[in-house]
Protein backbone atom coordinates (compact mmCIF):
# COMPACT_ATOMS: atom_id res chain seq x y z
CA UNK A 1 0.00 0.00 0.00
CA UNK A 2 1.36 3.38 -1.00
CA UNK A 3 1.92 5.83 1.84
CA UNK A 4 -0.26 8.88 1.69
CA UNK A 5 1.49 11.74 3.43
CA UNK A 6 -0.62 14.22 5.30
CA UNK A 7 -0.67 17.80 4.10
CA UNK A 8 -2.23 19.40 7.14
CA UNK A 9 -0.54 18.74 10.45
CA UNK A 10 0.94 20.67 13.35
CA UNK A 11 4.50 20.53 14.65
CA UNK A 12 3.37 18.63 17.74
CA UNK A 13 1.71 16.05 15.50
CA UNK A 14 4.86 15.69 13.42
CA UNK A 15 6.87 15.16 16.59
CA UNK A 16 4.41 12.62 17.98
CA UNK A 17 4.67 10.66 14.75
CA UNK A 18 8.47 10.81 14.87
CA UNK A 19 8.35 9.56 18.48
CA UNK A 20 6.04 6.71 17.54
CA UNK A 21 8.39 5.59 14.77
CA UNK A 22 11.19 5.11 17.29
CA UNK A 23 9.22 2.32 18.99
CA UNK A 24 9.46 -1.24 17.68
CA UNK A 25 6.77 -3.85 18.02
CA UNK A 26 6.88 -5.97 21.20
CA UNK A 27 9.03 -3.42 23.01
CA UNK A 28 8.37 -2.30 26.56
CA UNK A 29 8.11 1.47 26.72
CA UNK A 30 8.42 3.79 29.68
CA UNK A 31 6.20 6.72 28.79
CA UNK A 32 5.71 10.07 30.44
CA UNK A 33 2.91 12.59 30.01
CA UNK A 34 2.49 14.55 26.79
CA UNK A 35 4.41 13.73 23.62
CA UNK A 36 5.81 10.37 24.77
CA UNK A 37 2.31 9.19 25.60
CA UNK A 38 0.99 10.39 22.24
CA UNK A 39 3.85 8.67 20.46
CA UNK A 40 3.54 5.39 22.33
CA UNK A 41 -0.20 5.22 21.85
CA UNK A 42 0.15 6.04 18.17
CA UNK A 43 2.73 3.27 17.83
CA UNK A 44 0.28 0.81 19.39
CA UNK A 45 -2.35 1.86 16.87
CA UNK A 46 0.01 1.49 13.91
CA UNK A 47 3.21 -0.56 13.52
CA UNK A 48 3.73 -1.70 17.13
CA UNK A 49 0.43 -3.17 18.31
CA UNK A 50 2.21 -5.38 20.81
CA UNK A 51 4.36 -2.80 22.51
CA UNK A 52 3.67 -2.42 26.20
CA UNK A 53 3.42 0.94 27.92
CA UNK A 54 4.60 1.19 31.51
CA UNK A 55 3.91 4.17 33.77
CA UNK A 56 6.23 4.82 36.69
CA UNK A 57 3.24 5.46 38.96
CA UNK A 58 2.34 1.79 38.75
CA UNK A 59 0.17 0.86 35.75
CA UNK A 60 1.50 -1.71 33.27
CA UNK A 61 -0.05 -2.17 29.82
CA UNK A 62 -3.33 -0.36 30.37
CA UNK A 63 -5.94 0.09 27.64
CA UNK A 64 -6.43 3.84 27.59
CA UNK A 65 -9.86 5.15 26.73
CA UNK A 66 -9.01 8.73 27.70
CA UNK A 67 -5.64 10.44 27.53
CA UNK A 68 -3.97 10.74 30.95
CA UNK A 69 -2.81 14.17 32.12
CA UNK A 70 -0.21 12.65 34.43
CA UNK A 71 1.51 9.29 34.80
CA UNK A 72 -0.51 8.80 37.98
CA UNK A 73 -3.83 9.64 36.33
CA UNK A 74 -6.67 7.25 37.28
CA UNK A 75 -7.16 6.82 33.52
CA UNK A 76 -4.03 4.63 33.44
CA UNK A 77 -5.77 1.97 35.57
CA UNK A 78 -8.11 0.85 32.80
CA UNK A 79 -7.59 -2.85 32.08
CA UNK A 80 -3.95 -2.75 33.12
CA UNK A 81 -2.10 -6.03 33.67
CA UNK A 82 -0.81 -4.89 37.05
CA UNK A 83 -1.01 -1.65 39.02
CA UNK A 84 1.43 -1.34 41.88
CA UNK A 85 3.57 1.69 42.63
CA UNK A 86 6.83 3.48 41.96
CA UNK A 87 9.04 1.15 43.99
CA UNK A 88 7.87 -1.96 42.17
CA UNK A 89 8.00 -0.42 38.68
CA UNK A 90 11.35 1.31 39.09
CA UNK A 91 13.05 -1.66 40.74
CA UNK A 92 11.53 -4.86 39.35
CA UNK A 93 10.91 -3.53 35.83
CA UNK A 94 13.28 -0.62 35.10
CA UNK A 95 16.35 -1.45 37.20
CA UNK A 96 15.82 -5.18 36.49
CA UNK A 97 16.43 -4.36 32.81
CA UNK A 98 13.02 -4.78 31.21
CA UNK A 99 12.53 -1.31 29.70
CA UNK A 100 13.51 -1.22 26.02
CA UNK A 101 12.75 2.45 25.38
CA UNK A 102 12.35 5.35 27.74
CA UNK A 103 11.28 8.89 26.83
CA UNK A 104 12.93 11.96 28.31
CA UNK A 105 12.77 15.71 28.12
CA UNK A 106 14.44 18.60 29.85
CA UNK A 107 15.37 22.24 29.75
CA UNK A 108 18.87 21.72 28.31
CA UNK A 109 20.31 18.94 26.15
CA UNK A 110 24.00 18.84 25.29
CA UNK A 111 26.17 17.36 22.55
CA UNK A 112 26.33 13.97 24.33
CA UNK A 113 22.62 13.82 25.05
CA UNK A 114 22.95 14.72 28.71
CA UNK A 115 19.86 16.41 30.06
CA UNK A 116 19.42 19.18 32.58
CA UNK A 117 16.04 19.28 34.31
CA UNK A 118 17.34 20.84 37.51
CA UNK A 119 18.65 24.40 37.17
CA UNK A 120 20.50 27.08 35.20
CA UNK A 121 23.55 28.51 36.90
CA UNK A 122 25.14 27.37 40.14
CA UNK A 123 23.24 24.50 41.76
CA UNK A 124 23.25 26.23 45.13
CA UNK A 125 22.22 29.67 43.81
CA UNK A 126 20.38 28.93 40.59
CA UNK A 127 19.36 31.65 38.19
CA UNK A 128 16.45 29.48 37.11
CA UNK A 129 15.16 26.44 38.92
CA UNK A 130 13.37 23.61 37.05
CA UNK A 131 11.19 20.90 38.59
CA UNK A 132 14.06 18.40 39.05
CA UNK A 133 14.68 14.87 37.93
CA UNK A 134 11.41 13.14 38.67
CA UNK A 135 11.75 9.75 37.03
CA UNK A 136 13.86 11.27 34.23
CA UNK A 137 17.22 10.50 35.81
CA UNK A 138 16.13 6.92 36.46
CA UNK A 139 14.88 6.38 32.92
CA UNK A 140 18.10 7.87 31.53
CA UNK A 141 20.24 5.58 33.67
CA UNK A 142 18.34 2.32 33.35
CA UNK A 143 16.40 2.09 30.07
CA UNK A 144 18.03 0.05 27.30
CA UNK A 145 17.82 3.17 25.14
CA UNK A 146 16.19 6.57 25.40
CA UNK A 147 14.47 9.06 23.11
CA UNK A 148 14.69 12.72 24.04
CA UNK A 149 11.99 15.25 23.16
CA UNK A 150 13.02 18.91 23.08
CA UNK A 151 12.25 22.41 21.97
CA UNK A 152 15.12 23.36 19.63
CA UNK A 153 16.65 26.65 20.72
CA UNK A 154 20.30 27.64 20.89
CA UNK A 155 20.28 28.25 24.66
CA UNK A 156 18.65 24.86 25.22
CA UNK A 157 21.37 23.03 23.24
CA UNK A 158 24.70 24.01 24.83
CA UNK A 159 27.97 22.11 24.43
CA UNK A 160 27.65 21.11 28.07
CA UNK A 161 24.56 21.27 30.28
CA UNK A 162 24.81 23.23 33.54
CA UNK A 163 23.77 20.18 35.56
CA UNK A 164 23.46 16.56 34.43
CA UNK A 165 20.10 15.45 35.78
CA UNK A 166 19.78 12.57 33.33
CA UNK A 167 23.00 11.17 31.92
CA UNK A 168 23.22 10.61 28.18
CA UNK A 169 26.54 9.43 26.79
CA UNK A 170 28.14 11.70 29.43
CA UNK A 171 31.44 12.58 27.66
CA UNK A 172 31.80 9.99 24.92
CA UNK A 173 31.67 6.30 24.12
CA UNK A 174 33.17 5.18 27.45
CA UNK A 175 31.25 7.66 29.60
CA UNK A 176 28.44 5.44 30.79
CA UNK A 177 30.70 2.47 31.43
CA UNK A 178 33.08 4.58 33.49
CA UNK A 179 30.16 5.93 35.51
CA UNK A 180 29.07 2.36 36.30
CA UNK A 181 25.90 2.32 34.24
CA UNK A 182 25.16 -1.22 33.09
CA UNK A 183 23.56 -0.39 29.74
CA UNK A 184 21.54 2.25 27.89
CA UNK A 185 22.10 5.67 26.40
CA UNK A 186 20.15 8.06 24.16
CA UNK A 187 19.45 7.02 20.58
CA UNK A 188 17.57 10.04 19.25
CA UNK A 189 16.56 13.61 20.08
CA UNK A 190 13.30 14.61 18.49
CA UNK A 191 13.21 18.40 18.43
CA UNK A 192 10.98 21.08 17.07
CA UNK A 193 13.40 21.40 14.11
CA UNK A 194 14.56 17.87 13.37
CA UNK A 195 15.86 14.60 14.70
CA UNK A 196 19.38 14.25 16.11
CA UNK A 197 21.11 10.89 16.50
CA UNK A 198 24.45 9.97 18.06
CA UNK A 199 27.56 9.07 16.12
CA UNK A 200 28.41 5.45 16.72
CA UNK A 201 32.08 6.18 17.27
CA UNK A 202 32.09 9.50 19.15
CA UNK A 203 28.59 9.44 20.68
CA UNK A 204 28.21 13.11 19.76
CA UNK A 205 24.86 14.26 18.39
CA UNK A 206 24.53 14.85 14.64
CA UNK A 207 21.57 15.97 12.59
CA UNK A 208 19.84 12.91 11.15
CA UNK A 209 16.84 14.72 9.73
CA UNK A 210 15.31 18.18 9.50
CA UNK A 211 11.60 18.72 9.56
CA UNK A 212 9.66 19.86 6.46
CA UNK A 213 10.08 23.61 6.06
CA UNK A 214 13.34 23.66 8.02
CA UNK A 215 16.87 23.77 6.57
CA UNK A 216 19.95 22.07 8.03
CA UNK A 217 21.49 25.52 8.27
CA UNK A 218 18.64 26.72 10.45
CA UNK A 219 19.10 23.74 12.77
CA UNK A 220 22.82 24.45 12.99
CA UNK A 221 22.15 28.08 13.81
CA UNK A 222 19.78 27.10 16.59
CA UNK A 223 22.18 24.64 18.19
CA UNK A 224 24.69 25.79 20.80
CA UNK A 225 27.22 23.07 20.06
CA UNK A 226 29.00 22.19 16.82
CA UNK A 227 26.49 20.10 14.89
CA UNK A 228 27.38 17.79 12.01
CA UNK A 229 24.59 18.18 9.44
CA UNK A 230 26.33 16.28 6.64
CA UNK A 231 24.21 13.18 7.07
CA UNK A 232 20.89 15.01 7.36
CA UNK A 233 17.85 14.04 5.32
CA UNK A 234 14.39 15.45 5.38
CA UNK A 235 12.16 14.04 8.18
CA UNK A 236 9.57 11.71 6.74
CA UNK A 237 6.28 13.54 7.12
CA UNK A 238 3.31 12.01 8.96
CA UNK A 239 0.91 9.95 6.90
CA UNK A 240 -2.75 10.78 6.65
CA UNK A 241 -3.53 7.62 8.61
CA UNK A 242 -1.20 8.60 11.45
CA UNK A 243 -2.70 12.06 11.78
CA UNK A 244 -6.19 10.64 11.71
CA UNK A 245 -5.38 8.18 14.51
CA UNK A 246 -3.69 10.88 16.56
CA UNK A 247 -6.66 13.19 16.34
CA UNK A 248 -9.45 10.66 16.52
CA UNK A 249 -8.13 7.87 18.71
CA UNK A 250 -5.16 9.08 20.69
CA UNK A 251 -6.19 12.56 21.80
CA UNK A 252 -9.74 13.28 20.66
CA UNK A 253 -10.17 15.69 23.58
CA UNK A 254 -7.21 17.71 22.27
CA UNK A 255 -5.60 17.66 25.72
CA UNK A 256 -2.04 17.82 24.41
CA UNK A 257 -2.45 18.25 20.66
CA UNK A 258 -4.35 21.50 21.09
CA UNK A 259 -2.61 22.75 24.22
CA UNK A 260 0.91 22.49 22.84
CA UNK A 261 -0.19 23.75 19.45
CA UNK A 262 -1.60 26.80 21.21
CA UNK A 263 1.68 27.40 23.04
CA UNK A 264 3.77 27.23 19.87
Amino acid sequence: MEKKYAKDYTLIELMAVAAAREIKDREIVFAGTGLPMLGAMLAQHTHAPNCTIVFEAGAVDCKLAHLPMSVGDPRTMRFASTATGLFDVFSTILQRGYIDVGFLSGAQIDAYGNINATCIGDYHRPKVRFPGSGGSGDIACLSKRTIIIAVHEKRRFPERVDYITSPGWIDGPEGRKRAGLPWGGPSAVITTLGVLRFDERTKRAYLASYHPGVTPKQVKKNTGFKLDVSRAKKTEPPTEAEIKILREKVDPEGIFLKKVAAEE
Binding site: G72, P74, L86, F87, S133, G135, I255
Partner: protein, 322 residues
Protein backbone atom coordinates in the same frame (compact mmCIF):
# COMPACT_ATOMS: atom_id res chain seq x y z
CA UNK B 1 2.71 0.71 67.92
CA UNK B 2 -0.97 1.50 68.18
CA UNK B 3 -3.58 -0.98 69.29
CA UNK B 4 -6.93 -2.03 67.90
CA UNK B 5 -8.64 -0.58 70.95
CA UNK B 6 -7.12 2.91 70.77
CA UNK B 7 -9.49 5.62 69.70
CA UNK B 8 -7.85 6.74 66.48
CA UNK B 9 -10.65 8.64 64.83
CA UNK B 10 -10.20 12.37 65.22
CA UNK B 11 -10.61 15.76 63.58
CA UNK B 12 -8.11 17.34 61.20
CA UNK B 13 -7.24 19.89 63.84
CA UNK B 14 -6.51 17.23 66.48
CA UNK B 15 -4.42 15.27 64.00
CA UNK B 16 -2.25 18.26 63.10
CA UNK B 17 -1.05 18.23 66.73
CA UNK B 18 0.90 15.10 65.80
CA UNK B 19 2.96 17.30 63.45
CA UNK B 20 4.94 19.78 65.58
CA UNK B 21 7.07 22.59 64.21
CA UNK B 22 10.30 21.18 62.79
CA UNK B 23 8.83 17.74 62.17
CA UNK B 24 10.19 15.54 59.38
CA UNK B 25 7.18 14.71 57.26
CA UNK B 26 6.07 13.13 54.02
CA UNK B 27 2.76 13.19 52.15
CA UNK B 28 1.21 10.37 50.12
CA UNK B 29 -0.17 10.60 46.61
CA UNK B 30 1.51 11.21 43.27
CA UNK B 31 1.13 13.72 40.42
CA UNK B 32 -2.63 14.24 40.03
CA UNK B 33 -3.85 11.75 42.66
CA UNK B 34 -4.51 11.25 46.37
CA UNK B 35 -2.49 14.00 48.01
CA UNK B 36 -3.88 14.55 51.54
CA UNK B 37 -4.95 18.10 50.72
CA UNK B 38 -7.46 18.63 53.52
CA UNK B 39 -4.65 17.90 55.95
CA UNK B 40 -2.28 20.22 54.07
CA UNK B 41 -4.78 23.08 54.29
CA UNK B 42 -5.20 22.48 58.03
CA UNK B 43 -1.40 22.48 58.57
CA UNK B 44 -1.28 25.81 56.76
CA UNK B 45 -4.11 27.20 58.89
CA UNK B 46 -2.29 26.01 62.02
CA UNK B 47 0.82 27.88 60.79
CA UNK B 48 3.28 25.02 61.17
CA UNK B 49 6.86 26.12 60.66
CA UNK B 50 10.29 24.66 59.81
CA UNK B 51 8.97 21.39 58.43
CA UNK B 52 11.53 19.05 56.84
CA UNK B 53 9.74 17.60 53.83
CA UNK B 54 10.54 14.34 52.00
CA UNK B 55 8.83 13.70 48.68
CA UNK B 56 9.34 11.84 45.43
CA UNK B 57 7.23 13.93 43.04
CA UNK B 58 5.01 16.21 45.08
CA UNK B 59 2.87 18.88 43.42
CA UNK B 60 0.52 21.51 44.77
CA UNK B 61 0.60 19.87 48.20
CA UNK B 62 4.21 20.88 48.78
CA UNK B 63 3.96 24.02 46.69
CA UNK B 64 1.22 25.37 48.97
CA UNK B 65 3.09 24.40 52.14
CA UNK B 66 6.14 26.25 50.81
CA UNK B 67 4.06 29.23 49.78
CA UNK B 68 2.55 29.37 53.26
CA UNK B 69 6.00 29.44 54.85
CA UNK B 70 5.65 26.07 56.58
CA UNK B 71 8.71 24.45 55.03
CA UNK B 72 12.35 24.89 55.86
CA UNK B 73 13.99 22.02 53.96
CA UNK B 74 13.02 19.65 51.16
CA UNK B 75 14.49 16.41 49.89
CA UNK B 76 12.76 15.45 46.67
CA UNK B 77 12.94 14.49 43.01
CA UNK B 78 10.49 16.86 41.38
CA UNK B 79 8.05 19.61 42.17
CA UNK B 80 5.38 20.30 39.54
CA UNK B 81 1.88 19.30 38.51
CA UNK B 82 2.57 17.52 35.20
CA UNK B 83 0.11 18.75 32.58
CA UNK B 84 -1.04 21.57 34.85
CA UNK B 85 2.28 23.14 35.74
CA UNK B 86 5.82 22.52 34.59
CA UNK B 87 7.11 23.59 37.97
CA UNK B 88 5.52 24.51 41.29
CA UNK B 89 5.62 28.31 41.23
CA UNK B 90 6.12 28.73 44.99
CA UNK B 91 8.84 26.07 44.99
CA UNK B 92 10.66 27.81 42.16
CA UNK B 93 10.47 31.13 43.89
CA UNK B 94 11.62 29.68 47.23
CA UNK B 95 14.65 27.99 45.65
CA UNK B 96 15.63 30.93 43.47
CA UNK B 97 15.21 33.26 46.44
CA UNK B 98 17.11 31.00 48.84
CA UNK B 99 14.08 30.82 51.15
CA UNK B 100 14.38 27.06 51.68
CA UNK B 101 17.16 24.46 51.63
CA UNK B 102 16.92 21.63 49.12
CA UNK B 103 18.47 18.32 48.24
CA UNK B 104 17.82 16.65 44.87
CA UNK B 105 17.44 12.92 44.22
CA UNK B 106 15.63 11.04 41.45
CA UNK B 107 12.13 9.64 41.90
CA UNK B 108 13.43 6.10 42.18
CA UNK B 109 16.10 7.33 44.56
CA UNK B 110 13.57 8.90 46.92
CA UNK B 111 11.21 5.93 46.81
CA UNK B 112 14.11 3.62 47.60
CA UNK B 113 15.01 5.78 50.57
CA UNK B 114 11.45 5.47 51.90
CA UNK B 115 11.59 1.71 51.21
CA UNK B 116 14.83 1.36 53.17
CA UNK B 117 13.26 3.17 56.10
CA UNK B 118 10.20 0.94 55.85
CA UNK B 119 12.40 -2.17 55.79
CA UNK B 120 14.42 -1.09 58.81
CA UNK B 121 17.76 -0.94 57.01
CA UNK B 122 19.99 2.15 57.19
CA UNK B 123 20.64 2.29 53.43
CA UNK B 124 19.66 0.72 50.12
CA UNK B 125 21.88 0.03 47.09
CA UNK B 126 20.93 1.15 43.59
CA UNK B 127 22.28 1.61 40.08
CA UNK B 128 20.27 4.72 39.33
CA UNK B 129 21.69 8.27 39.30
CA UNK B 130 25.19 7.01 38.39
CA UNK B 131 26.83 9.46 36.01
CA UNK B 132 24.56 12.33 37.04
CA UNK B 133 25.27 15.49 38.99
CA UNK B 134 22.72 14.30 41.54
CA UNK B 135 25.46 11.96 42.74
CA UNK B 136 28.12 14.67 42.61
CA UNK B 137 26.47 17.70 44.19
CA UNK B 138 25.22 17.94 47.77
CA UNK B 139 22.44 20.45 48.33
CA UNK B 140 22.52 20.66 52.12
CA UNK B 141 25.56 22.25 53.74
CA UNK B 142 27.58 20.32 56.30
CA UNK B 143 26.26 22.72 58.89
CA UNK B 144 22.68 21.88 58.00
CA UNK B 145 23.41 18.16 58.15
CA UNK B 146 24.97 18.53 61.57
CA UNK B 147 22.15 20.74 62.84
CA UNK B 148 19.52 17.99 63.02
CA UNK B 149 20.40 14.38 63.88
CA UNK B 150 17.43 13.20 61.83
CA UNK B 151 19.08 14.37 58.61
CA UNK B 152 21.34 11.74 57.00
CA UNK B 153 25.04 12.58 57.65
CA UNK B 154 25.65 12.61 53.89
CA UNK B 155 23.57 12.61 50.73
CA UNK B 156 24.76 9.20 49.48
CA UNK B 157 27.83 7.00 49.17
CA UNK B 158 29.31 5.16 46.19
CA UNK B 159 30.98 1.76 46.67
CA UNK B 160 32.13 -1.18 44.63
CA UNK B 161 29.87 -4.20 45.10
CA UNK B 162 31.72 -6.80 47.22
CA UNK B 163 30.26 -9.56 45.05
CA UNK B 164 30.34 -8.24 41.48
CA UNK B 165 32.71 -5.27 41.68
CA UNK B 166 30.03 -3.07 40.06
CA UNK B 167 29.83 0.57 41.04
CA UNK B 168 26.79 0.96 43.30
CA UNK B 169 25.16 3.96 44.97
CA UNK B 170 24.09 3.59 48.60
CA UNK B 171 21.18 5.82 49.60
CA UNK B 172 20.44 6.64 53.24
CA UNK B 173 17.08 5.47 54.60
CA UNK B 174 14.30 7.90 55.51
CA UNK B 175 12.17 7.43 58.60
CA UNK B 176 9.75 10.32 58.88
CA UNK B 177 8.38 11.59 62.17
CA UNK B 178 4.97 11.60 60.54
CA UNK B 179 3.63 10.50 57.18
CA UNK B 180 0.17 11.55 56.07
CA UNK B 181 -1.62 9.62 53.34
CA UNK B 182 -5.10 9.85 51.85
CA UNK B 183 -6.79 6.47 51.35
CA UNK B 184 -10.15 5.49 49.96
CA UNK B 185 -11.14 3.23 52.86
CA UNK B 186 -9.97 2.67 56.45
CA UNK B 187 -11.56 0.89 59.38
CA UNK B 188 -11.68 2.32 62.89
CA UNK B 189 -8.81 0.06 63.99
CA UNK B 190 -6.61 1.41 61.22
CA UNK B 191 -6.47 -1.25 58.50
CA UNK B 192 -5.95 0.72 55.27
CA UNK B 193 -7.14 -0.15 51.78
CA UNK B 194 -6.09 1.82 48.73
CA UNK B 195 -7.72 1.29 45.35
CA UNK B 196 -5.65 1.74 42.22
CA UNK B 197 -1.91 2.27 42.19
CA UNK B 198 -0.45 2.90 45.63
CA UNK B 199 2.38 5.08 44.22
CA UNK B 200 4.93 5.42 47.04
CA UNK B 201 2.31 5.41 49.80
CA UNK B 202 3.23 1.94 51.03
CA UNK B 203 6.88 2.87 51.56
CA UNK B 204 6.14 6.37 52.85
CA UNK B 205 3.59 5.02 55.33
CA UNK B 206 5.70 2.13 56.54
CA UNK B 207 8.84 4.23 57.04
CA UNK B 208 6.98 6.61 59.37
CA UNK B 209 7.24 6.73 63.13
CA UNK B 210 3.65 8.01 63.18
CA UNK B 211 1.07 7.54 60.47
CA UNK B 212 -1.97 9.73 59.84
CA UNK B 213 -4.58 8.54 57.37
CA UNK B 214 -7.25 10.78 55.93
CA UNK B 215 -9.90 8.88 54.02
CA UNK B 216 -13.08 8.92 52.02
CA UNK B 217 -14.84 6.32 54.15
CA UNK B 218 -14.52 4.58 57.50
CA UNK B 219 -15.99 1.08 57.37
CA UNK B 220 -16.41 -1.90 59.69
CA UNK B 221 -13.24 -4.03 60.14
CA UNK B 222 -15.03 -7.12 58.82
CA UNK B 223 -15.57 -5.36 55.51
CA UNK B 224 -11.85 -4.94 54.90
CA UNK B 225 -10.74 -8.12 56.61
CA UNK B 226 -12.77 -10.37 54.34
CA UNK B 227 -10.00 -9.86 51.75
CA UNK B 228 -6.89 -9.14 53.81
CA UNK B 229 -4.66 -9.50 50.76
CA UNK B 230 -6.23 -6.33 49.35
CA UNK B 231 -5.25 -4.19 52.34
CA UNK B 232 -2.09 -2.12 52.28
CA UNK B 233 -1.29 -1.21 55.90
CA UNK B 234 -1.87 -3.31 59.02
CA UNK B 235 -3.95 -1.56 61.67
CA UNK B 236 -1.18 -1.24 64.25
CA UNK B 237 0.83 1.18 62.12
CA UNK B 238 -1.93 3.79 62.07
CA UNK B 239 -2.09 6.48 64.75
CA UNK B 240 -4.83 8.78 63.49
CA UNK B 241 -7.79 8.44 61.16
CA UNK B 242 -9.76 11.36 59.78
CA UNK B 243 -12.78 11.00 57.55
CA UNK B 244 -12.65 13.75 54.92
CA UNK B 245 -14.74 13.01 51.83
CA UNK B 246 -13.19 14.67 48.78
CA UNK B 247 -10.14 15.18 51.01
CA UNK B 248 -7.70 15.00 48.09
CA UNK B 249 -9.32 17.84 46.12
CA UNK B 250 -8.12 19.29 43.73
CA UNK B 251 -6.45 15.95 43.08
CA UNK B 252 -8.16 12.71 42.09
CA UNK B 253 -9.05 9.74 44.22
CA UNK B 254 -9.46 6.62 42.08
CA UNK B 255 -12.99 5.22 42.08
CA UNK B 256 -14.25 8.22 44.06
CA UNK B 257 -13.57 11.39 42.08
CA UNK B 258 -11.39 12.94 39.42
CA UNK B 259 -8.94 15.79 39.60
CA UNK B 260 -10.27 19.32 39.18
CA UNK B 261 -8.58 20.86 36.12
CA UNK B 262 -10.28 24.20 36.64
CA UNK B 263 -9.04 24.58 40.21
CA UNK B 264 -5.54 23.29 39.42
CA UNK B 265 -5.19 25.84 36.62
CA UNK B 266 -6.53 28.54 38.88
CA UNK B 267 -3.98 27.72 41.58
CA UNK B 268 -1.03 27.69 39.21
CA UNK B 269 -2.11 30.93 37.62
CA UNK B 270 -2.53 32.68 40.95
CA UNK B 271 0.59 31.22 42.53
CA UNK B 272 2.88 32.86 39.97
CA UNK B 273 2.46 36.23 41.64
CA UNK B 274 2.88 37.00 45.36
CA UNK B 275 -0.18 39.17 45.70
CA UNK B 276 -2.59 36.96 43.81
CA UNK B 277 -1.20 33.95 45.66
CA UNK B 278 -2.04 35.61 49.00
CA UNK B 279 -5.52 36.36 47.77
CA UNK B 280 -5.96 32.78 46.70
CA UNK B 281 -4.88 31.55 50.14
CA UNK B 282 -7.16 34.00 51.90
CA UNK B 283 -10.07 32.87 49.84
CA UNK B 284 -9.56 29.11 49.92
CA UNK B 285 -7.62 28.39 53.10
CA UNK B 286 -7.42 31.12 55.73
CA UNK B 287 -10.88 32.40 55.03
CA UNK B 288 -12.46 28.98 55.26
CA UNK B 289 -13.59 27.44 58.56
CA UNK B 290 -13.74 23.80 57.68
CA UNK B 291 -13.69 21.29 54.85
CA UNK B 292 -17.44 21.54 54.31
CA UNK B 293 -17.11 25.26 53.67
CA UNK B 294 -14.16 24.67 51.35
CA UNK B 295 -16.19 22.25 49.25
CA UNK B 296 -18.84 24.92 48.98
CA UNK B 297 -16.24 27.47 47.89
CA UNK B 298 -14.82 25.34 45.10
CA UNK B 299 -18.21 24.89 43.50
CA UNK B 300 -20.31 22.87 45.92
CA UNK B 301 -22.58 20.03 44.90
CA UNK B 302 -22.45 20.93 41.23
CA UNK B 303 -18.65 20.78 41.05
CA UNK B 304 -18.54 17.55 43.06
CA UNK B 305 -21.08 15.98 40.70
CA UNK B 306 -18.83 16.83 37.75
CA UNK B 307 -15.81 15.28 39.46
CA UNK B 308 -17.61 12.16 40.67
CA UNK B 309 -16.00 9.00 39.31
CA UNK B 310 -17.74 6.56 37.04
CA UNK B 311 -18.15 3.34 39.02
CA UNK B 312 -16.52 1.14 36.43
CA UNK B 313 -13.78 3.43 35.13
CA UNK B 314 -12.85 5.00 38.45
CA UNK B 315 -12.68 8.53 37.00
CA UNK B 316 -15.05 11.04 35.37
CA UNK B 317 -15.01 10.26 31.64
CA UNK B 318 -17.01 13.35 30.69
CA UNK B 319 -14.98 15.81 32.72
CA UNK B 320 -13.93 18.85 30.67
CA UNK B 321 -10.14 18.82 30.85
CA UNK B 322 -8.80 20.44 27.66
Amino acid sequence: MASKVDDKIMSLREATKLVPNGAHISLGGFTTQRHPMAFVYELIRQKRRNLHFYGHSPGGDLDMLIGAGCVRRVELAYEADEAFARIGPRFRRAVEGGLIEWEDYSNFGMVQRFAAGAMGIPFIPTRTMLGSDIVKKEGFSEKTRRSDPKIAPKKLATINCPFTGDKIVLLPAIQTDVTIIHAQVVDAQGTVRIYGQNFGDEQQAKCAKKLIVTCEEIVQPEELREYPEHNLIPFFRVNAIIKVPYGAHPYACYRYYDYDPEFLRLYHERARDDASFREFFNEYIYGVGDWEEYLGKIGGAEKLRKLKADKKLGYAPKLKRG
